[in-house]
Amino acid sequence: MHTRLKLIFVVLATFATASLNAQDGNSASDKEELQRIALEALIHVPEERALPAVMKLLEGDGSDELKESALFVLSQMDHPDASTALLSYARTGSGDAQIKAIRMIGINGDETVLAALPEIYASGDDDVREAVLEAYLIADNVDGVFTIAMNATDEDDYEEAVQILAVMDAHEQLAQLREAKGASDALVQAYIISDNHTELELLARDSSNPDVQVEAIQALGVVDGPNAEVVLLDIYKASADEDVREAALQGLFIGDHGQSVLELYRASSNAKEKGELLEMLVIMDSDLAMEVIDQALAGDQ
């Protein structure tokens, strides 16, 4: 080590020993902060010079945070050795370092390295698989996520991939998944995330899977697209299934569609149903409720 630098460290160490614990902490954190700064500064150094320094740090005893920064610096390099190193960490690293390396592959965006992610996904645990999906998300690689979703045999894996597709607004791929794999709660959640009214309406009208249909109807109320009120009203009128009707009513309630609830109230000849609809209007704090009550008191209804 450089003599001058050594001397500085000795002085710093002496000072730290004689100081309060808090000062020790500051000194240690300053040192690490300087290391982080030095690492980030390497982005401005020619890659062939910077790469060995980054690799040396990755192989050393530095903190996890420092190694994360080192992986980030690697991800910023347009050098085949940097991509190879990232891939190596993604394949054989352990714990956080492996997860970070996988994400950094997404940041790096090198197609040849991204091509190795399916293999890492297939052999990885839950955290690794999640990191692979995130890497695809960061790299905006819809095809990678779609392939995982199509090939998923585990429900959780499928759900996670579908959610990432939703975040990526991959409407076409989500529609293909519905056709290939059928309706599912995962798709309903995806359509909520991607604000896809059209697909939600299709699922809400699809009675092939009653549980999913109920989920979709409720979601339609939450998302409240331009046709939501009409669709929910249609479903309520057309269905004989109690759960479906209840979900449609909840959708109207969530979407604050008092006028439709009033329409159902007026059209109903079932006293129990009328009572429930009126109760809903009251809960919605709608002026329409007062209108109905006034009419009832006047003997109109």
């Binding site: 290391q35 700064i37 030095a38 401005h44 150094v45 010079r49 320094a53």
Partner: protein, 165 residues
Amino acid sequence: MARLNRIASLVLVVLLAAAGAGSEIRAAEMLNLVDDGWYTWRVASVSEFEEDQFYVLVKSGEPRKIEIVGHWCSDRKHSGAVDLGLLETDVSIDWLQQYAGKRSDLGSDALAAMSRHAGGRALTILIDIVESDAHMDVREEAVFSMANSGSEAAFNYIDRLLMAD
């Protein structure tokens, strides 16, 4: 009055240039950039380029901005700038040192300009800032200036900083 000062500066430059001793202004001279306008000078560079050129804008008697003409910096030329010619690195460093490390754009400019000088003195000053300045952002600027300088010695220092244990 300002015109007289400007003429005086120009005369000083001409006299210094005429004084010979190569064409460099000696370390004993201190730059005195008081008149408003652009000034420029060159120094031996630490990088692969033989020389770097600096432009300094003075307004209301104070330097406001330093631009570096090198392989990675601004290539703007300011016509009408007072050309101080090739300076001895110490002269340039002495002037820049007044501002290097100040928490301002000018301070950052000065650090960057300082890092471009050939010889070990500029690096020693930058290392001192990295290791002892009270403000971490200034220390960070100094490290980044070193990284940008293209200097092997600066890189070696960054490498040591990185591996400090």
